[in-house]
């Protein structure tokens, strides 16, 4: 699903959608097999929760089944699926944030910043873990753009179509998302160094 949509994949999807429109549930299974990974990975990257990603994946294809008569077979299916995935992820994230944020702040206070690890490989792994946390901490609109751009390799135009916003908006969300990540990573690195000096 990610990246370029070839003509043959477009035709295959269209054929399966037509079959599904006529009530063939096997076609839904085949569409699921074709598109499950990008949907699942996107939901997982946004929510950071395996169970939530699986629920979103299932709900996304259930919606495809419900609204299959509205799907335009002349257009690629992937932007439609991405859009549903993003919407479902948004619902999940906003519901979770209501009760999770205060608890996480408390846990952060208890654990403190990540300890400085001098091993290069371990340092790299620490960096990636901190980056994942930083991405998780981004505002939803920026997080989605970062995930679609860097994980799914989509272009700015594709992301604009999926989110239903102008390309300029996608560009600015990407820019501010990156800046936020840089700031968060610099902040974490500084606090880790300070902690290292005192220990």
């Amino acid at each position: 699903m990610a990246g370029i949509v070839t003509k043959s994949s477009l035709n295959d999807d269209a054929r399966l959608i037509l079959k599904l429109q006529s009530g063939d549930l096997e076609a839904l299974g085949l569409l699921y097999d074709r598109h499950r990974l990008p949907v699942f990975r996107t939901a997982l990257a946004i929510t950071h929760d395996q169970d939530a990603a699986q629920d979103i994946l299932q709900e996304c294809f259930l919606r495809l089944h419900t609204y299959v008569h509205r799907v335009d077979t002349s257009l690629p299916l992937s932007p439609w699926l991405y859009r549903i995935t993003v919407n479902l992820s948004y619902t999940w994230v906003t519901r979770r944030n209501k009760w999770r944020a205060p608890l996480e702040d408390f846990v952060d206070q208890l654990i403190g910043p990540a300890k400085y690890n001098p091993e290069p490989e371990a340092e790299r792994r620490d960096e990636m873990r901190l980056m994942q946390r930083a991405i998780d901490g981004l505002p939803f609109s920026q997080r989605v753009v970062i995930v679609l751009y860097y994980l799914n390799d989509l272009s700015l135009q594709e992301i604009a179509v999926i989110l239903g916003v102008p390309v300029g908006t996608v560009k600015s969300r990407l820019h501010y998302g990156r800046e936020n990540l840089r700031r968060q990573m610099e902040g974490t690195a500084q606090s880790a160094e300070v902690q290292y000096e005192f220990t």
Partner: protein
Amino acid sequence: MSSRERRAPLDSFEILVRQSLREHADGRLPDPEVRAELLAKAERQERRMAQGPSLSLADLFGERPSRFAYSASPNHFICLEALFGPRTSWFSFNQLTR
């Protein structure tokens, strides 16, 4: 639709962003039960859609209620009056129900 070819090469920070996202997502697969459950749910949904809306809701969807469908009787309005009547004057209640 894609224009990835025109993308500028990623800098080291962007590479870290991509690697972090991929490290977390790569190799993770949804459980096989998700597919089976999806198809079971879709089948149930299909059956429900074939049956149409429940009879009591038929009016809401602009469908002609069947002979056995639920329809509001004059008693219904008396019940509504008992519920809301005391809070509104008889006149305004009358306006609401007409």
